[in-house]
Symmetry: C2
Subunit: 698 residues, 2 copies
């Protein structure tokens, strides 16, 4: 694919399927283009002489120097038209036509053809099944929607065309302006990652907004987005969040690591601000577009009404930002500036009889405090204050101090002029103070994302060959479910495992046990027995003397339980002191979009009953693995809460990274559950595993 | 206090401190009254002949038949004026004057005087420090705010006067109407419970709304509100939510049972719908005011746009309501009514080319399904649909089927007429579908509250005298911290405790142990030793033979640890089998507003690290205690998750209720921590306790 910049700044756009007939998509697009497009609109339709006054061409092959072709022909000839475009040397094609993968198997075949053509000619294809594209930079409305966007610096992609139509209709009143808009359609060729990259390179795009129903390639999106978010914030609604739970099921780890967990982790690792509603999407976009980033997470609240000030404080309590703790000088200055009865502590209450000067003095004193990284200016209607004056002063002070501000004007239509003035200066204004606070919280979240150091995943020196051998040997034996007999796999990747091995005779059992200090653990190894303890297949603390008899006992019990079951042998393992350790679980499932998803949690109840888990898309870098440990609610138990011995967190963090490397190296590992990984005061040791092998990926 | 109905429907209102001077509160109130009040306004001011054309009286004592006196005189004579009012036989007084408890100790003394007068004369006093009262029923604006409310059926109380001003300014554009409004001020006499009762009895009030910063008497409020919410919904913002955490600290249980926990529990027990922002407060009020209650928790989504339909579904996933599962007949009907490409499953997508007839058909088919208790009608702008037509059809169908509907018109100013039409019919309309869903969720929550059976707390037959004797004997010995030696207290209230007693000689130790089957547990009992295990003060599994020696050992260790410490003795206790049981904690703290607050959680990590707790204000009825067990996230562990023996939940529920009765009976128990209460397969047994005694309450 070439550069996408031409797609949004073409000189000549051809509409294939242009039409004079009112109510057709071909008519709508042609007339939308003719309305404001600064470049040339070219009509293509073999059945018409002219369209809306334009001379009509029979085919794209008959024209030269077209930058973008918009395809609105019937589905059965759409792919041919795209091929024509490619052969005519056109690099950008927007396929409006529907009837592709969204429409049954015939459509899917058509879409496959489309992708083939695009690949063959290295085409940029938007859609199919798209509303079209817009760019206010060149006045281009190449959609069949009824409304052109107001110019601005938000670029917006949406997997729903109707949502674009709705947003444009609404955005006019909200004075929200856009740079580029794309209706992604079926994303057969170009997807969110491509547009993220394009807009990340576009100096005129200040905020990237997305409505996504899925992410075509999770890993590619993470890579693209984490690069872009160093400079340009991305805010996205990922819809279909809550269905994840239902579609997740499969295996034990699978049920926990549903695909919503992958999106949550993936979007976070990508540095994307996730909005959970339409309101949040635009609230976040507006403040990111209009206000500078805060230089600290302390917020000052300045109000003329105590009650609403308390509500605002509650909203701060719900968010990740903090109520700024004023310096003494600030308090002194506020004492001097404000009358008795005012509150000089945060939230500052200038009280109901404040005029604009008193209010502005308080704002200025707050903004001058180095602890104040952002501010909420909150006013209720009073006899002594006009909203317009307050807006003017707020705008002036925001510009002077460069501190981000969100405003709350708690009134009706009387606030409109003031709100307009604030909006013009990029200061968002709401009736509900909670929205102002949430917006500032998002701004601060992006400030953190932007300054976060990007650490590449560590590549450990591992024995890749040996690990492959373990998997291949299992595959050769036709096995898809691997257990403790495959602990070598972990060992090959430098993950500590207890000393021991799987044996298939009493003599070998004695020999292996004799090489181990102290008592041993003995476990049946059989792909047909999953609940080993229940059938007496596990013996803990077996002394050297008892190893031979125990071997026989375990085998007999297994035979009794499943006379026809396949028995691999008995595992003889060094005892791991659970009293001094904390049992944890490291699991991996494979998400269709994001690939390997690593889960961490504390053993047993914590993961299964309390659902106290942390997820990251692999490969997992060191800081991400470290965050996983801190993120779970039971984290204090790893640090020695309630008289426990503190666990070696470094060893856990390294184990997570090594597991991440293992599953990244071997796509054949479709599920992995290392349970428990015992975190000890000095080290972390993997005691058991269950692995699902996808032989086709080996 | 007499009936409050006269306060909101007076015939003659006197303004004491009425004034001709622009900009004064006395002028504002008098002119506000003169503007629309249907009754007679009487001016009182000894310094003026007339006020705004009214003859002026010198004093309330000079007038007869005044229903409400509004007091706006200076603080130092305000109480005298209230006394005059009382002596003139006036039953309702609204004290606007500030300078009471909000203003230091002098003000507090003044407020105490005011309360005294009110009590003496059985006066209804609003305030002091109030913005005033309004009632649209009689056109009365007895506030000094700039705006009169539009008539409606929402009655609104607020602890912030500024918030009333702000809301009234804003509500005009939102077309939100009010019945009565009261600015609660300092709540010296009348508080939220009084107004809840009044409005519960007022047939013209359909919804009660509150902005509260505290609740004066939690228990009274619960009793008043739970009665009222059988007929009239109450929605409240309780602000100061998040400071709770900070102010909580004190003791171990106290830190968990902060006062926000009390509000959360108390408001829930009261049946109050809690809003967390201003937006929610009015969103909930609007739908409760405008729509009937749903007859099931299944919601149908009918949309002409797939993407926004998915967003709406996500919002349903976030809420407690469910996506309705359509009956076969509904699916058949939808198949017939809708074209190919439409989605007949919930969310129904009538697709972008739908006209109003197709849209309305789909709505009607959905509403006819008995699984559908409510609906979201969601439209994006298209060429084939006008919002106005859709609104008309939605209103018609809502009325026909009586099913509550919330609408989402995803567009700009083009939606205004349609939105107005829907609002007129009581159907709330938002741009963001998440708000529509949250509103329906609140409606369903109220439907559940309304139908919930109110069960009175059980009064168990207990040995009150014996419990009192335990507490009195501790008090006599000057003790405030009680421990395991006071287990008799629990026994007296029918709570199972292990067999055993506290002894102070080796001989008694042997005697008590010999009465117990099997090995025993021995623990030092000393108010000066809190971490008994750490100093070797606890021995588990002591055989009968070893009891004498162990007694001596424990005493020696305690003496070594604290040579001057007071030693009560050694507790000899029956062993409780922890392997077959689940350790739980039942705690009680005393909240300044709500009184005894009972906490339940699983032992150790679950309460302390995972903060997995449930709270209820005592007395706790059986269904409430039962809810507590289900509410904690670790609940499955009580039901036998992960191979555990299921606990006797009935015994735990009864124990919670008996503890609740104990702390309700004895206000002297200021804190109680029964830890552990071991839930066994058959019974629940309290093993240890810590209790803080407030001797003054005994």
């Amino acid at each position: 694919m070439g550069e996408l910049s031409t797609l949004f700044a073409p000189q000549r756009v051809a509409v294939v399927g242009a039409s004079d007939e009112q109510g057709t998509v071909g008519h709508a697009i042609t007339s939308n283009l003719l309305a404001e497009f600064e470049g040339e609109t070219v009509a293509v339709n073999p059945n018409q002489e002219t369209v809306l006054g334009l001379d009509c061409y029979d085919s794209l092959t008959a024209i030269e120097e077209i930058d973008v072709a918009i395809v609105v022909v019937p589905a059965h000839i759409a792919v041919d038209v795209v091929r024509d475009a490619a052969e005519a040397g056109i690099e950008n094609v927007v396929v409006i036509t529907a009837g592709f993968s969204e429409a049954g198997s015939e459509g899917s075949a058509r879409e496959a053809e489309l992708v083939e053509v695009a690949t063959e000619y290295d085409l940029n294809v938007v859609g199919p099944n798209s509303l079209g594209v817009m760019s206010t930079g060149v006045g281009m409305n190449a959609t069949f929607g009824p409304r052109m966007a107001t110019p601005g610096s938000i670029s917006f992609m949406s997997q729903s065309g109707a949502f674009i139509t709705a947003v444009l209709d609404w955005a006019v009143d909200q004075e929200i302006g856009f740079r580029d808009i794309v209706s992604l359609g079926n994303k057969a060729v170009l997807d969110e990652s491509d547009f993220v990259r394009q807009w990340g390179n576009d100096p005129e795009t200040d905020v990237i907004l997305g409505y996504l129903e899925d992410v075509a390639d999770g890993r590619e999106f993470i890579d693209a987005a984490r690069e872009v978010t160093r400079e340009t914030p991305i805010v996205a609604v990922k819809s279909g969040r809550t269905e994840a739970g239902a579609s997740a099921a499969a295996s034990h780890t699978g049920a926990i690591a549903g695909s919503e967990a992958a999106y949550e982790a993936g979007l976070r690792q990508a540095g994307v601000l996730r909005a959970h509603s339409v309101q949040e999407l635009f609230d976040f976009a507006s403040i990111l577009d209009g206000q500078p980033l805060p230089e600290g997470d302390g917020v000052a609240i300045i109000t003329n009404a105590g009650g609403p000030g308390v509500m605002t404080t509650d909203a701060v309590g719900d968010a990740d930002i903090q109520l700024a703790d004023f310096e003494d000088e600030t308090l002194d200055d506020l004492s001097e500036a404000l009358p008795d009865g005012a509150n000089i502590f945060n939230p500052i209450d200038v009280i109901g009889d404040a005029d604009v000067d008193r209010f502005a003095d308080a704002i200025e004193i707050a903004l001058a405090d180095p602890e104040v990284g952002m501010a909420v200016v909150l006013a209720c209607p009073t006899a002594t204050l006009t909203f317009d004056d307050l807006a003017a002063e707020t705008v002036r002070l925001q510009e002077e101090y460069g501190t981000p501000i969100a405003a709350t004007l708690m009134g009706g239509s009387g606030t409109e002029t003031a709100a307009g003035r604030l909006r013009e200066a990029g200061i968002p204004t709401y009736f509900d103070p909670a929205r102002a606070v949430r917006s500032l919280d998002a701004l601060q979240e992006y400030a953190t994302i932007r300054t976060q150091e990007r650490v590449e995943p560590t590549t450990f020196d591992v024995d890749h060959q040996r690990a492959r051998a373990v998997l291949e040997s299992a595959a050769d034996r036709g096995r898809t479910q691997l257990g403790v007999e495959s602990m070598d796999l972990l060992d090959a990747y430098g993950i500590s495992t207890p000393q021991g091995e799987v044996v298939d005779s009493p003599g070998d059992a004695e020999r292996v046990a004799s090489e181990i200090d102290g008592d041993v653990v003995m476990k049946i190894v059989s792909p047909d027995i999953s609940h080993k303890s229940d059938i007496g297949g596990v013996e803990v603390g077996v002394s050297q003397d008892a190893v031979r008899d125990t071997y026989e006992d375990i085998i007999v019990r297994a035979r009794n339980y499943q006379p026809d079951g396949s028995i691999v042998g008995v595992q003889i393992q060094e005892m791991v002191d659970l009293d001094e350790g904390t049992e944890t679980i490291i699991g991996v499932s494979r998400d269709p979009q994001f690939g390997p998803l690593v889960m961490f949690g504390l053993g047993g109840i914590f993961v299964e009953v309390m659902e106290d888990t942390a997820f990251r898309v692999a490969p997992v870098a060191e800081p991400e693995a470290s965050e996983m440990l801190d993120e779970i609610k039971s984290a204090p138990l790893l640090s020695g809460a309630r008289g426990r011995t503190p666990a070696d967190k470094g060893a856990l963090v390294e184990t997570i990274q090594r597991v991440s490397q293992l599953v990244t190296d071997f796509p054949a590992i479709s599920e992995l559950d290392i349970n428990p990984v015992v975190a000890q005061p000095d080290g972390a040791i993997a005691v058991d595993l269950r692995l699902t092998l996808d032989q086709e990926e080996l």
